[in-house]
Amino acid sequence: MASSHNKDEKIIYVGDSRVPQKNHESVPRDYMAYPGKSEVFIPNFLLKEWMVASVFMVGFLVLILVDPAPLGEIADPTNAQFIPMPDWYFLFLYQMLKYPYLANKFVVFGTIVIPTIAFGALTLAPFLDTGKERRFYKRPISTGLMLLSIAAIIFLTNVSWMHYEEELEAKGLKPEKHATGGGKKKEEKMGVMAKDHPGFAVFKKATCVSCHGADMKGMSAAGIPALLGVGDKLDQAAIMNIIKNGSENKKMSAQYDSNINNGITPDEMNQLAEWLSKQKKTP
């Protein structure tokens, strides 16, 4: 380096000629005050940091590959079924608002007063906790308050999550994960199978079409399931049972007799059930 070898040749630029050039070298900070072995930052210590970062990154990439980022259905402001949930790190604040003295009339406490006090105290911690002592077990008040807050955060987050899961179960909903992307790809692959089977002709004649649709995709908004891939879940006998007696959740009523009245023979109904049982996702 020019600076270390030929000091005389080096031109030092000083922006303003009235400012005197500083001649002192920047002196690395001396850590000799601390006992024990210290280490240079580059390369020794940074290498260790980067080793940790490498391990961290591999774990991070594995997480990404295992669990892709979710994307729900496009926002529908009229969807009254949807349970709003903030990101997980806001859950404890959200849960707090569900308690009587922090909600409704007193909502200002939950939304403003408590968070402001908590965050304010945390921000101003160095000015509130001015003692010289640094070890946490010698600072019972600040340590105690912090542990209490952490416990409260964990507790509230957990309660909020449990509550959400219960609500989902009560409403019979599933959290939207890959509503469009992944789902669409699979559905496209999944078509109506065994189209030359006589049951397909019966299906088109029968009452099935008016709800489940000619493409057998059902109407998810109205709670009518798709019949594509029904053979993976039910066999011929189970399908026949639903046709004869209606579905378990009573959403679909018995369809057998009305079809017989429409001129479909019992043999054809059997063909229909057999054909439906052949509707599998994978051939």
Binding site: V209, S210, G213, A214
Partner: protein, 136 residues
Amino acid sequence: MKFTDFNQSIWNETSAYYDTCVIPYSGLTGNETPPRVVQLLSGLKERLEWIEVPFKGRVITYPALQYCFEGFSEFTNYLINNLRSVGFKFVILVVAPSVIIKQECAFDLVIDDRNDDSAKCKEEILQLWRKDVSNL
């Protein structure tokens, strides 16, 4: 073109060229299930495209008649007269597939299951226009 493609100034400039009016008719009775309605309307839309695309510069599609009703023929005669008074020379009714018009009415042409084919339908319209020229 669709009636929505016009505003007053476009109409002032080009009305001489648009002498044919198309009325879509879905002929619903109310007995249809929703999927059946979808099927009917998409069939009707397809028929409309046979006319709208090749004859874009001469025909205008007006808002549709959706349900069948008593007195269809009187009403349509009244409608046709009014349309002619605006300046349309021809009024064509395009009917959804499998809907049958039993009553007499004064349309210059009815597109229904009898001429259920893009080429046939185009030919009929051309004939209609040619007839007009020969009348002159």
